[in-house]
Symmetry: C2
Subunit: 473 residues, 2 copies
């Protein structure tokens, strides 16, 4: 395959993007071919960095002509190996298509409350631009400085505001994308209502680079809510946290985030980041909530919590709450939650299993997963956190070697047995491809495969991600 | 085609659904094969009324074996001929698949704020069930007593609350559907976050019965907001109405509806329904807005309107506003908007052209479309109304014969020229299929056709709707 024609491929790609943007030095390429966790890595022939949709289209045409698979990559903050090559060299030595140079961000359309962003725009850049226009971008997540619009679209990123605004799919009004044969489809007109045929933009969201390469997105913005309150509550357990969130969600229109973590994660973060304890004593579960509104939501939150306790729901103890309405105080509370990922990564290479459970099974899962991991990997460290309003827990296991999949298998089977999803917001990638059948039926996988074959008949785009690699390349 | 084997087909279908649910009497069949406007009608061999997903699957297998196309139909409130046969007999005499007997509505899951509804459940039934559980279903539209969940999913119905909650697509957590070969795909587990592969449910939403037959839907519910205020404002024109809505949308989290209509429509409704004038004098445009919250939103709305006027925006005159916070008063104001459709239908068979314009071109379109219609059909009556917050106008033309498409062509070309969409919320159906290329590129239509061929290779489902009928049947 590639071995025979690397120079001709590199030359043809350089003709498209310029010499300086075809990277083949092994050390440079290596920086692109390993993920943030260091668990997922594999060889690539070279890295190509186009600057525009037209260049992406031409790159795909060249790769197709050379029969070389393509791995699209954004900010490389994915956690399931969906943006790096396969360790097994499956599909040969692919071209890694970095989209970070597609960094144009159009002026915010204040009237429509929309903006058009190219794939390489970071989330932080997008958020800043929205803020400057008196608006906000509804999705937020801890990797905001690196994660890009293209990657977030391709993986249907979730984050901390899903319970109020939905995830990335709900923010996408339309997309521009390049399909495998180089065709460009473009729907950037910003029309909220457009019922003219299949929702191709929606199909590309979450398709993990296997159906097309997203190059631009027309995104909705939401009103900027300047008044916020953040509260960290200590509670007796997961079930109590769920009860609080359900009650607040019913009582308040302002609830924007509801995050959960546990003592072992808090200890790790405190040690890693040198932080003191947030509450006067230790609790079984920590619930971080945030409300936002045009007017100060602090009192309404306090009232809602008091009503809940009066109605027999979980009561918040006097030493079980830290509340902040100012930016610095809120950031200090958020740090306990947001620094979990880096604290875990500092322990070693984590197995990251991001899962959803039905509301009614979340607390049971939280208990069971501790037993399951202890049984399969007794020496491992298990750290859990997540978005309790969405039934979404991030299961982090440090200890087992990266290529030992026994703990992955045990956790994902537990999830499936409880009626959950093996991927809440990170996607399937390479990490979970072999477990897709746990929760997706043969009929569903058959339809997905039919769509993949219809749009990418040569199996050019991200082979081995989400679905098994086709054999035609 | 069918002519040769009608009895065998009827017998085979009766074996699936029972004799009483295969309707072949010409008068009975005729009741299903004409739409609400009376503009779209065509012949069908028979009507089949299954009771369950399994029966739908078997019906599709039987029809496929007999090589007879299938036209799925819900409440038959569609306006683009997507649920009735082709007048030209294109694709032969099809089977009309009525889904109204799939009428099961599961108990509301209050904890998750979700419900599972079968395709034949009416919107009104769904809304009542949600209300009984202390929740609400976010989509609302005037045809609520007839429109069904399946039809609303298949057409991605919009309605009056899109600016707050999105349309039908945003309410669908997952679907159960039968594909052309009888495979059932089912995703009713209610998991908000599930990033395991292509978003098949989202692809089926708005596919107008051409990719699969939706049999059940898992739907999100929203908190029931008991306090409401409705205001009818008289304004100088469309641009002023847009300015008011944009300002309210920024200032209030509670804005739920923003409807526009014009004097000629108001006159028609008043005459048809025997209603008095809503405001002390006549205005160029009427804006109906509704806010809803847990607490009374009336004062906040008044404040926001006063702030807008103080900031140099459109001022509401003292004789230019009617406000109601009680149910009867609100219903009286809504009647002026909601009775437009029946008032127009009483004039004759309307040409109904539901379109979206970019925010910046909506007022220009409102003026231009009057000139265009006057030029093409000088004797016609033109009545406009719509959802101003979404840039969505319903263009109704009464006068030209149903099969005279000159006015359709002129209006849709005007829309495309202004960067709009030829279908905001009704879909493409048979009515607009030939104009799809006005706003969808050859690349997009190519992808849609590839998906159609991948999922329905025999062209069994709703041939001639949305895309040209395939020739294989």
């Amino acid at each position: 395959m590639l071995g025979a024609v690397p120079d001709r491929l590199a030359t043809a790609l350089a003709d498209v993007v310029g010499d300086g943007h075809v990277l083949s030095d092994a050390d440079v390429v290596a920086g692109y071919t390993v993920d943030w966790t260091r668990r997922w890595r594999g060889p690539a022939a070279l890295v190509v960095r186009p600057r525009s949709t037209a260049e992406v289209a031409e790159v795909l045409r060249v790769c197709r002509a050379h029969r070389v698979p393509v791995i699209p990559q954004g900010g490389n903050t994915g956690l399931v190996g969906g943006g790096v090559p396969s360790a097994s060299g499956l599909g040969g030595f692919p071209v890694l298509l970095s989209l970070t140079r597609l960094a144009d961000l159009d002026p915010v359309d204040k009237t429509a409350a929309q903006v058009t962003a190219s794939a390489g725009v970071t989330l932080a850049h997008l958020q800043d631009a929205a803020k400057s226009a008196g608006l906000a971008f509804a999705v937020d997540l801890a990797a905001r400085d690196s994660a890009t619009v293209g990657g977030m679209v391709a993986t249907n990123a979730g984050g901390i505001h899903v319970l109020r605004y939905g995830g990335m799919r709900e923010q996408v009004i339309g997309l521009e994308a390049v399909l495998a044969a180089g065709q460009v489809i473009s729907r950037l007109d910003g029309l909220i209502k457009d019922n003219t045929g299949y929702h191709l933009s929606g199909l590309l969201v979450g398709s993990e680079g296997t159906l097309g390469v997203v190059t631009r997105a027309r995104l909705r913005l939401v009103p900027r809510l300047g008044e916020r309150v953040t509260a960290l509550l200590g509670l007796a357990g997961t079930a109590e946290a769920q009860a609080v969130v359900a009650a607040l969600h019913r009582a308040l229109s302002t609830l924007e985030a509801a995050e959960i973590f546990y003592p072992e994660g808090l200890d790790l973060v405190m040690a890693h980041a040198g932080l003191g304890a947030p509450l006067g004593r230790r609790w079984n579960a920590y619930l971080l909530i945030e409300c936002a509104d045009h007017t100060d939501p602090t009192e309404a939150l306090a009232d809602a919590l008091a009503s809940l306790a009066a109605a027999g729901g979980p009561a918040v103890a006097s030493d079980g709450a830290a509340v902040a309405s100012d930016a610095a105080g809120r950031a200090a509370l958020w740090a306990y939650r947001e620094r979990h990922a880096e604290a875990v990564n500092a322990l070693g290479v984590p197995h990251k299993l991001d899962v959803t459970l039905p509301e009614a099974r979340l607390a049971e899962f939280e208990t069971s997963v501790r037993a399951v991991v202890a049984s399969v990997a007794p020496a491992a460290q298990l750290v859990l956190w997540g978005h309790v309003g969405d039934g979404n827990l991030h299961v982090n296991v440090v200890g087992p070697p990266p290529d030992d999949e026994r703990v992955d298998d045990a956790v994902l089977c537990l999830v499936a047995g409880l009626g959950g999803s093996i991927s809440a917001e990170h996607g399937v990638g390479r990490a979970k491809m072999r477990w897709l059948g746990l929760t997706r039926s043969p009929a569903e996988i058959g339809v997905m495969t039919a769509i993949k074959n219809a749009l990418d008949p040569d199996g050019l785009l991200n082979p081995g991600v989400l679905l098994p690699a086709a054999l035609s390349l």
